[in-house]
Point group: C2
Chain length 320, copies 2
């Protein structure tokens, strides 16, 4: 988030790093130079205009409402704590920026949802979506830095015929596929899968949107990919969809099969825009449907970039 703030030249006057007592006093290299970490307190947080929360759900549940209690500090929460609260907006600025008008606590969506939403929102506006079916190809770094280490070290060991114990993932991830991200719910779906359903409906403001997801962890490092099938209300052609997507903010159409050009983690990593391609007529929803493939950097669009975009949008509406 600090890197994105700096890269986008967010007009900040001071960067304050708040963490637990344990980390207080530590020095940290940032894009803004060496900074010392301070111990978190509600009062110190309230002295800032924006608080970007990269904390656990339980920490956010306790402290986010306290911080915004001063009636002026904006809290952008990356946890899932408030995403489903009716009075807390869940925002992808390119989609539902106005949902945060007059609100101080704003929830940042799940990474898989945010990436799909970039491609689906322009299509929803023009062709009205009825059904969305998503299968994901999610990178190890979605489980944090330890997930990344476990994949890299595990792969190194696997290539030598050794076994590296899995702790972050439910099973060894190197050269494997794990259809299990987050905990299982009573309906047989994982929480990660239901987040895609719930959050897409909330961000799009349409509870009637039928959506389903299979969330799968695969041995990639960064950027999530998703195979998406949609049924639309209005008739849609790949050409019409491509035209709509080619001018959509936050989207890059990468769709030239003849040149072997389509979305991939290799090219989507460290990119702000979500890559969308493999756009073709659905063979099961005709003539009102499409199949497509997306790849997006889940650490950017799915987290840091989206949080900073929320802050930028809020800043523009602040009284000067």
């Amino acid at each position: 988030m600090i890197e994105v703030l700096h890269a986008r030249q967010f007009p900040l006057t001071e960067l304050v790093l708040l963490a637990s007592e344990r980390s207080a006093g530590k020095s940290m290299a940032t894009a803004y130079g060496e900074k010392q970490v301070e111990a978190f307190s509600v009062e110190r947080a309230q002295s800032c205009d924006f608080v970007l929360m990269a904390v656990s759900g339980s920490f956010s549940t306790e402290f986010s409402p306290q911080i915004t209690g001063n009636g002026k500090t904006v809290v952008i929460d990356n946890s899932s704590a408030f995403r489903y609260h009716e009075d807390v907006p869940l925002v992808v600025p390119e989609i539902n920026e106005s949902a945060m008008d007059g609100k101080l606590l704003i929830a940042n969506p799940n990474c898989t949802t945010a990436i799909a939403a970039m491609a689906l929102w322009p299509l929803h506006q023009h062709f009205k979506l009825k059904k969305i079916i998503v299968s994901t190809y999610q990178a190890a770094s979605g489980a944090g830095a330890q997930g990344m280490t476990e994949l890299e070290e595990g792969t190194r060991q696997a290539l030598e015929g050794k076994v590296f114990p899995n702790e972050v993932f439910a099973h060894p991830l190197p050269f494997n596929v794990i259809p299990h991200i987050d905990s299982f719910q009573s309906n047989g779906y994982t929480k990660e899968e239901m987040k895609v359903v719930w959050e897409t409906q909330k961000i799009f403001g349409d509870k009637s949107l039928a959506c389903s997801c299979t969330a799968v962890r695969i041995p990639t490092k960064r950027a999530h990919s998703e195979a998406i099938t949609i049924e639309t209300e209005k008739e849609v052609s790949p050409e019409a969809a491509m035209e709509v997507l080619s001018t959509a903010p936050g989207v890059q159409v990468v769709d030239n099969p003849a040149e072997k050009s389509y979305p991939m983690p290799l090219t989507a990593t460290k990119k702000y825009d979500v890559e969308v391609g493999r756009i073709r007529r659905s063979l099961v929803f005709q003539p009102c449907g499409l199949d497509l493939f997306v790849s997006g950097d889940q650490l950017l669009r799915g987290a840091a970039l989206n949080a900073v975009l929320i802050a930028e949008a809020k800043l523009l509406k602040m009284p000067r």
Copy 2:
């Protein structure tokens, strides 16, 4: 195929290895001991009861009909050369064994199709499928031994920050996802994707079955996985589906989320049965639909095992 013949104690009296002139005379270690490769000729092939073809489509196109021309030698072709010929049966023995009655040339289906078919056929019989939507997670060995080497060597290099040139795959596969297997067709789908559509319809004997596929190569070594969404004509519950699948031949239900048990390449590799799990009510097709996940060894069910099962079924019907 030789290993599977041996493991299943196929009652063969002689194993004959036929290859090009270039390989003739070479000695090869097999499950039946050291064997010398002979130069292929139609006459030599015709001296056998069964010919298992692991050759290119063009070779099969030329020679398969010549071999069966003697009116007695059975040719089981692993290429796609004859899969869509109206008078050549495309067979998964557990599904449409009777399609090969009176036929000498029999086509072995595409690996991705065969794996999905094992899970879908029992459901089709009981609940009648209307729509099938498949997203695949396909292993490097689907592109042959060189694909496997390119993944392993490429991964080794990638871990050291080096780049290993990709030749087998369209892009580097290590830690990447490539939504491109086989060549692109004019409708925007790849041939691999259309094989799943055409072959499922042919094997199930139902041209009205709506089917779509996104075929994706991922950095795994062996066993393909597939996320599948189905719409059925009759109402279906996960429990009813599980009951049907638990007695289906060639299928192993692996579906106990509480125990972190679901299909994975790690457990499906080198297994005859296709693993089926994550069975849950579809959230887009209600109450007539399911989401499920399958993993199957594409070298066994998708190739060698299926070919040998075809031979076994033919053998049982041969005049003694």
